[in-house]
Each structure stands twice: as C-alpha cells, then as structure tokens.
C-alpha cells in the first residue's frame, strides 16, 4: 500500500528576477511501513520536498496524496488533522526551551484538546520510556546533550501516533556515535510501530544504514531511485556517484590508475548477501588459472546485509571462464569497458568516469 505519493510536484519561490524553481516535476511513491531515504547535496531541494508532505510548503504544481487521500489543498482543521498524522523530526530539534522534556512531549497532545491530564501524563511516560529518557522527564532542553534532545524530538513526533514520520536531517547536527544510536532508534520504531519513515539526509552513510529505498535529488529533480542496495552499489547518475564517493574513506576512486591500465579484463565484482563472506574469488581464479589484482574495493553492510565490491584486473588463461564462473556463483560482474582512446574519453566522459570508480 502506498503511504505517501507525490505526483508531478513542482515548487518555485519568488526571486529577484522572477520565480526560482526549487523542485521540478517530482514523482515519488513511498510504501507503507518502509524507511524511504531522500538524499541530495545541500540546496538540492530535499528539505522543501519533505515539507511538501505535511504542507508546511505548498506545491506550485502537482498533487500530494497521504494514505490514499488527496491533501494538496487541505486547510483549517483538515490540515491540522493531517499534520497530526505526520510526525516531524528536525535537524536542530526545535524543542520548546521554556518547557521540560515531559511537557515538550505533551505539547502535541495538549494541542488536540482531546486528552485529559492523566491520560497525557501516562502517554508521555510511555513515549519517554520508548526513547530511553524516563529519568530526564523534568529536565529542560538546555540540560540535555544533542542526542538526548533528538530523542525528545522523536518522542514528541510520535505522541499523536502518526502514520508517517518525517526526519529532516535528523542526525546532521549529531556526532557519529550519537548518529548511530538515533538511527537505530528510528529503525526500532519503524519495526515496532510500523511507522513509515521518510528520511532526508546529505550523508550516504545514513541511507546505507537505515533505509529500504532511496531517491537521489539533484537540482530539484529525482535523478535516481530504487532499493538502497541497487543505488548504493550501482550508482548511475553523477550526483549519486558523488554522494556515494563522499561516504568512502579514500573517496572510492581509482583516479590514480591511468585508463590504459584498465584493460578489457578489468571487471567490477559485487558480492551481496552470504556471497560477501564466501571465498568465491580465490576458488574461481584457481579453477580457471587466472590471476587477479584488486585495484579498488569496499566492504561493508547495507542495513544488516553484508556486501563487498571490488574492481579487479584479471589476467591468465580463461578469463571468460572465470567471469562465467563468478556469475554462476551469484556474483554481479560488470565489464569496465576496454582501454579508452583519447576520443572516447572526450566524447563520453561519463563512460570514462564510471570505468575509473568502484562506485
């Protein structure tokens, strides 16, 4: 079932010399219960995009559907009701500094006017227990660490039992360790409550660890989308490549290797799932009497699933046999194009670039 659907959404802002387009005909479909990532560099329009879902921003064109209902022009009580069904977590937490932790979490409940005092107290206690802040209930936000503040933000966003949770750069103001803990909490909430999560970030690492599917936004357009495994391991668009490379320790590039070294026997091998832990490459090399040099590689996890990806130069007797053997073992093999002449490098720089990168 589709939880959030954006149909040909455009958004432009009034600028000095006429309207400036921020988003251009965006189509997105987010399934119920999934963690959907939206990634892009700053200024790509992802913050605007997420604000269109709860209509903090109004689209200049297109339609927004939430839970199958067209909400594009919802106003008044209907709009407030919609927003109650969509929790939102912010980069800078946006907690009320004049309220204690417990009263921050109580805030959205008070707004509805539907709950008695005791009911609110009880709900708040349960929410704080969920995010592990029970003992901080009576502190003020200024007394909390960044990670704790964001936990308050998450508890507050969950108070009205939303169907969707929007996270706008929720971990960008946190240190790496805290980021991990907050992402774990979000995944746990997604598992336990079945809340659909839309996660905006500029860090591919956050997507890799948390999301089921991802859309890449570049200059106001969706340039690539799909399961995280596909987009992360086989990025196609230059913007995606750039974002994936940023997440690699050495930039994941093979720039040091000249194009001529990448012979026709240079292949990109991707091992996913259990294959990532099996000694496939060595066995195939032995069986087909080939040698291999690993030119670049990366190993890690996408959510819990391990992956390994190498660019390997093969030499020896039966290269074709080795490639066939690898494929038969379930390894994804991509030929990295032959040695390039000056001309191809000039006329199709993207092909050239792809051949040079692991990602």
């Amino acid at each position: 079932m589709v939880m959030v659907r954006l149909e040909s959404i455009s958004k432009s802002f009034a600028g000095k010399d006429g309207p400036v387009s921020a988003l251009d005909r965006i189509d997105l479909s987010i399934a119920k219960g999934e963690i959907f990532g939206i990634i892009g560099s700053s200024g790509a329009g992802k913050s605007t995009l997420v604000r269109l879902i709860n209509l903090l921003e109004r689209p200049t064109g297109g339609e927004v559907f939430v839970a199958g209902e067209r909400v594009t022009d919802a106003r008044g009580e209907r709009l407030r009701e919609l927003r109650r069904s969509i929790g939102m977590v912010f980069q800078h937490f946006n907690l009320l500094s004049a309220r204690t932790v417990a009263r921050n979490v109580a805030y959205p409940l008070e707004l509805t006017g539907r709950y008695g005092k005791d009911e609110i107290t009880e709900k708040v206690a349960r929410l704080l227990a969920r995010v592990g802040l029970s003992e901080h209930a009576h502190k003020y936000p200024r007394e909390l660490s960044g990670g704790q503040k964001q936990r308050v933000g998450i508890a507050r966003a969950l108070a009205c039992e939303p169907q969707v949770l929007l996270c706008d750069e929720a971990t960008s103001a946190l240190d790496p360790q805290t980021t991990g803990a907050v992402l774990d909490l979000l995944r746990q909430i997604n598992r336990d409550l079945g809340v659909t999560i839309v996660l905006i970030t500029h860090e591919m690492d956050v997507i890799r660890r948390t999301c089921d599917r991802v859309a890449v936004i570049d200059r106001g357009r969706v340039v690539e989308q799909g399961p995280v495994t596909d987009v992360f391991l086989h990025p196609r668009h230059p913007a995606t490549l750039r974002l994936v490379r940023e997440a690699e320790p050495d930039g994941g590039s093979l720039e040091a290797i000249s194009a001529s070294e990448l012979g026709s026997s240079t292949v990109r091998l991707t091992f996913t799932g259990p294959n990532a832990h099996r000694p496939i490459l060595g066995r195939i090399a032995r069986e087909n009497v080939v040698d291999y040099a690993i030119l670049a590689g990366r190993v890690g996890h996408i959510r819990e699933a391990p992956y390994a990806q190498f660019i390997v130069s093969l030499s020896g007797r039966d290269i074709a046999g080795a490639i066939a053997g690898l494929r038969a073992s379930g390894v994804d093999v991509e030929l990295q194009g032959g040695p390039q002449t000056e001309q191809t490098a000039v006329t199709s720089p993207r092909v050239g670039e792809r051949a040079l990168h692991v990602v």
Binding site: L56, R80, R83, M88, N94, L95, L96, S97, T112, R142
Partner: protein, 219 residues
C-alpha cells in the same frame, strides 16, 4: 538648604500618585501594546500572516505617535482625554495619554521579542497540528517570556519618566512635586528628595525586571 522643612506628607502622597500612575498605565499599556505587538509580528515580512499593507499602516501610525514628544502629546490629546476619562487632570486624566504614549513603544519591543523566537519552533508547532493562535499562545509567547519581561521593565521606566512630565500639566506625582517646589519655589531640597526617590524607584524596577528575566530564561 535644610531638610527640616520638607513636607514628608506631600512627598508620600506624591509617591502614591506616581505608583498609581505607573502601575495603572503599565497594566493598560500591556493590555493595548501586547496585542499590537503580536499583530505587528504576525503581519511582518515572512511571518505567519504576512500582510505588507496592514503592517505598513500600523507601523506608520505607531511611528507617528512615537515621533511626537510626550509633553506635546499630552497637550494634543487633552480633548480626547476629556472625552475618554471625563477629565484631563489628576491620575485619571493622565493615565490615558500615558497609555497612548507608551503602547506604540511597548508594541515595538514585543514585535522584536517575538521575532527573536527561533523560526524552527514555530515550524515545529505548526507541523504538530497547532493552529496559529495555539502557536502564538503556547509556543511563541512562552518562548519569548524573558524578552517580554525585559520589555515590560524598560516600559515601566519610561513610564516613570513620562509621569514626571505629566505632572507639569496637572497630573500630580513626584515629578510634579519636584517641579513645583524645586523649580518654581526654589526649594532645592524637595527636588533632591524627589529625585532620590525616583532613582531608587527606577533601580528597583530594573532589579525586579532582571530577576524575572533570569527566572524565566530556560535557554
């Protein structure tokens, strides 16, 4: 100069009048100025009810009032004062012009205080399904409380200043006493006593205001 023939009774009465004028006018200034300040805030650029024409008009009127020196405003307003309160004399006759004089000033301070509230907090409140009035009453005003107390403090001190002037046109109070005895009758000691009391009074207002600001600062 001798402090023996000071009319302590008169001074006490004048102090009472000053307190009544400052207190009454302050209360009414808050009642009038706070909504005006909220209106300025809401209709301002890039705010919740952005309305350039409404903002511009209100701003213009408030600026006109603020441009008129208070002593002139007192005189100009006299007919209106008589219409509203029945007299232009005494405490009753002076509170109306005091409120007219300080409300625009207070409204500006309120506008500034509310603008200082983090926009993210307003956005978060709206995202949680709050209406605009809920956002103002439950999020923006509580967040701005320290600045609002600071604004009230400054306004109270301005009011002390203005009551002295209003004394000149028959309002009574310490300022009036200081002018009548100290200036017109060359009894410098009475003027000094009045001034000393005013200094203490202003210090107390400032100290009290500071305490409130600190107490409500949660940041």
């Amino acid at each position: 100069m001798s402090f023996e023939n000071i009319y302590w009774g008169d001074i006490a009465a004048a102090l009472g009048q000053t307190l009544a004028m400052v207190g009454g006018a302050l209360l009414l200034t808050i009642v009038v100025g706070l909504p005006l300040g909220i209106l300025l805030f809401l209709t301002g650029r890039q705010q919740l009810f952005q309305a350039p024409v409404a903002y511009g008009s209100l701003s213009f009127v408030l600026n006109i009032i603020r441009s008129v020196p208070f002593i002139i405003l007192l005189i100009v307003l006299m007919p209106v004062t008589v219409l509203v309160t029945g007299t232009s004399l005494g405490i009753r006759g002076v509170i109306f012009p005091l409120v007219v004089g300080t409300s625009p000033f207070f409204a500006r301070l309120v506008e500034t205080a509310l603008r200082e509230v983090d926009r993210g907090i307003i956005e978060a409140s709206l995202a949680m399904g709050a209406s605009t009035s809920q956002t103002i009453l439950r999020a923006v005003l509580p967040e701005a409380l320290p600045s609002l107390f600071a604004a009230v403090t400054v306004t109270a001190i301005v009011l002390v200043d203005y009551t002295a002037m209003s004394g000149a046109i028959g309002g009574g109070g310490l300022g009036d006493l200081a002018i009548r005895y100290g200036y017109h009758r060359f009894q410098t000691e009475i003027m000094l006593v009045c001034v000393a009391i005013l200094i203490v009074f202003v210090q107390l207002i400032q100290a009290g205001g500071n305490r409130l600001v600190t107490h409500f600062s949660c940041r």
